[in-house]
Symmetry: C2
């Protein structure tokens, strides 16, 4: 993509409304624009990141055997009356009356809707287990939306739902999603620690939040100091296997959120305990028959007896993740994208757009990069080198390739790694193979 | 995907609420399930089709140089007051008050929102032209939603917006989208005729609808009988070229919607005119400064003078297309998917799941098909052959491969083309290469 044609409205000044780095940088880098409080438009650069995140989430859900569906944003109130949550939910639920004065709502989550779908079509133990997920916009009418996409009102969430015959099956499904979440966040370059958590309005008694440590986090978390040394690898998972060992391995060291942590009953001594700010990127729940019983989602057991489905739900805050990723990956000059979610693999800078030789060389390299299947943002504008470097550092593409008159004379381009800051002169062929290798 | 594990709740009976074939077949084939009037859940099979359609739409938008953004579903009322449409829109607009009693709405379209985005960031003729698009859920509170996804209340639309300095530039953008739409629908196997249309509440004076002829269509259309013989090919388009010849070529024969057709001024004699029912799948508009003027979206010309942006908008009814495609592609046994949008390329039927040899052969072929990258739905259930054939015909995958004891003895499988109905016995290798070739 040529920057001269790209819609990338970067801001020179720090927007005054942004209190944290990720919000500030997403606005400055032209990733998002506020529509109203807590509601954002995703501009081209931001949407590319969001789509990369969504793709990783989807791939790992599919790998775990979850099947994708898509439920609507607007739900009928009567569904939520069946579960009893219509009155419970309070003002965070965006309530709507349609033209016929029917009560509707903008779904903040989908337990009721998915239960309605399966109670009509899943009747027998033979149809189980099932894992269904969707990636859809939700709405929670936060009283004070802030921190940009990290605590928005309209937000994109992946929510999965497991359907099992009994508690043992439900735990197997829980473990599948637990393992899938470990993989999902590692693939984004995030260290997300699974912590015992309070299920809140979703219900149930087994629940984990996947938490990134960050000063901008919304809650206090408590964990074994060993977590500081633990590096979560990209584990290979065979989803046909018993995954309980994986669950045990990654919950062996203590970690809990504020609501769940009780100093009096904490299993590790205070000297081993660390407290920090945490940012939730995923939350998983096992809640048994909390919805299936009142909503009469029954299946017949092998002996013919009808029993309510055993269910769990599993959320990932997709539109919050670009913010979380920036909180974990930035410096004073801007964003530093991990490669797996970067909007482009590299930026190409023509240092002197008015110089015919520079332009020909940069155009040529741009063509070669594209032919090699490398996504590249090409700054072909007639701007000062300083402005070009600042923009590239701000938007945080993993590698920058600089074509300038001095290098051209020597037959080289300069390649700068955004994260390390290391610059190297190399031939265009060497630059091409470095980028192709990744 | 193994059917024994797939969430495919097919219905044996015709649902009484469905009046037209596509609605009936989408419910019966387990593609969708109604949540409330005019609002649907997309189940796995239906979502695969929707995603294929979305992918084709996206590829053709990208090819035409449009850049993808994503605007929110919930918009502030004040934006629509600026354009004057907040009061104009009537009861089709779903109006909402949030917890702070601020007036909001569920976007039925996005002209105001996109104008707000660009007025803040596009200031100069140097930033033009631009084409921005998004694929997002919309809501129109139809008084009588019906025909399933064809006339739903919550629906997925691709809407693009062109931004130009002057009328000539705006017509170039209009032509780009016109050409992209020709390609988009041809790739789905649809003959969508561009017809002069009334711009309605969007405004402007140049507008075309892309219309499929179908008895279930919502409007009367009028066109030159020559359109019956015209086959729209997949035209090669160089979007850098002048596309006016393409526009002229494909509007040369008369075609107009009811609102635009005037018998008194029709340019062709009545004997050459055909009237039929039409189903809108796309609608494009040029409306100049209708939004940019009241909303003050101004750019400076080369001479420095500020002028309002010249704009157009371009919609495709993404979630309506599965219905439109089925209206154009079905028989008494079910759906017949065009290959480009089919949820799976092929179905594999094990005729006798209880027979060890049949199961081994079918499992083996399933593995080979998957290794060849062919998307296949494998009916491994222990059901009668009749039930399996009926399900496969109902869901309409382009090819069916049948593994049975008789064929196995002869070293063959049966391959049936769903559209032609032609059955052929062939070796598994021949079946594999037939499917790989496509």
């Amino acid at each position: 993509m040529r920057l001269s044609e790209y819609f990338l409205p970067v801001l020179r000044e720090n927007p005054s409304e942004a209190q944290i780095a990720s919000h500030r940088l997403m606005l400055r880098a032209g990733m998002i624009r506020q529509s109203s409080a807590g509601i954002y438009c995703w501009l081209p650069l931001g949407l590319r990141v969001l789509k990369n995140i969504e793709r990783i989430v989807r791939e790992e859900q599919d790998r775990a055997g979850a099947q994708e569906i898509l439920m609507p944003t607007i739900q009928p109130a009567e569904l939520w009356r069946e579960s009893g949550r219509y009155d419970d939910y309070g003002k965070e639920m965006l309530r709507i009356r349609d033209r016929h004065d029917r009560e509707m709502l903008y779904g903040p989550t989908n337990e009721e809707q998915v239960t309605e779908i399966v109670r009509a079509s899943i009747k027998s133990y033979r149809d189980l287990p099932k894992l269904l997920y969707h990636i859809q916009w939700k709405f929670r009418d936060e009283v004070r939306p802030r921190f940009g996409v990290m605590r928005g009102r309209e937000f994109l969430m992946k929510d999965a739902y497991s359907l099992d015959l009994d508690a043992a099956g439900a735990k197997r499904s829980y473990n599948k999603m637990f393992a899938a979440y470990l993989r999902t966040f590692v693939r984004m370059g995030l260290k997300a620690i699974p912590m015992r958590a309070d299920p809140g309005p979703i219900g149930g008694d087994l629940s984990h939040e996947f938490i990134i440590l960050a000063d901008a986090g919304e809650s206090d978390v408590f964990f074994d100091r060993r977590w500081q040394e633990i590096d979560i690898p990209l584990i290979e998972v065979d989803y046909q296997d018993d995954l309980e060992p994986i669950f045990q391995r990654w919950t062996a060291s203590y970690a809990a959120t504020d609501e769940k942590h009780n100093p009096a009953s904490c299993p590790i001594p205070e000297t081993e305990l660390i407290s920090a700010r945490g940012l939730e990127v995923g939350h998983i729940f096992y809640f048994g028959d909390k919805y299936s019983r009142p909503m009469q989602a029954l299946v017949s057991r092998p002996d013919g007896a009808p029993v309510p489905l055993q269910m769990g739900s599993y959320g990932i805050g997709v539109s919050r993740l670009p913010g979380a990723l920036i909180e974990a990956n930035h410096d004073e000059n801007g964003i530093i994208w991990p490669e797996s979610v970067a909007p482009f693999r590299a930026g190409l800078i023509n240092l002197r757009a008015s110089d015919m030789r520079c332009r020909a060389a940069a155009d040529d390299l741009y063509g070669k990069l594209r032919n090699a299947g490398i996504e590249v943002l090409y700054d072909d504008r007639d701007e000062s080198p300083g402005a070009k470097f600042a923009t590239m550092d701000l938007i945080g593409l993993p590698e920058q390739i600089v074509v300038g008159p001095r290098g051209l004379a020597a037959g080289t381009v300069e390649v700068k790694n955004r994260r390390s800051g290391v610059r190297e002169d190399m031939t265009t062929d060497a630059a091409l193979s470095r980028l192709s290798a990744a």
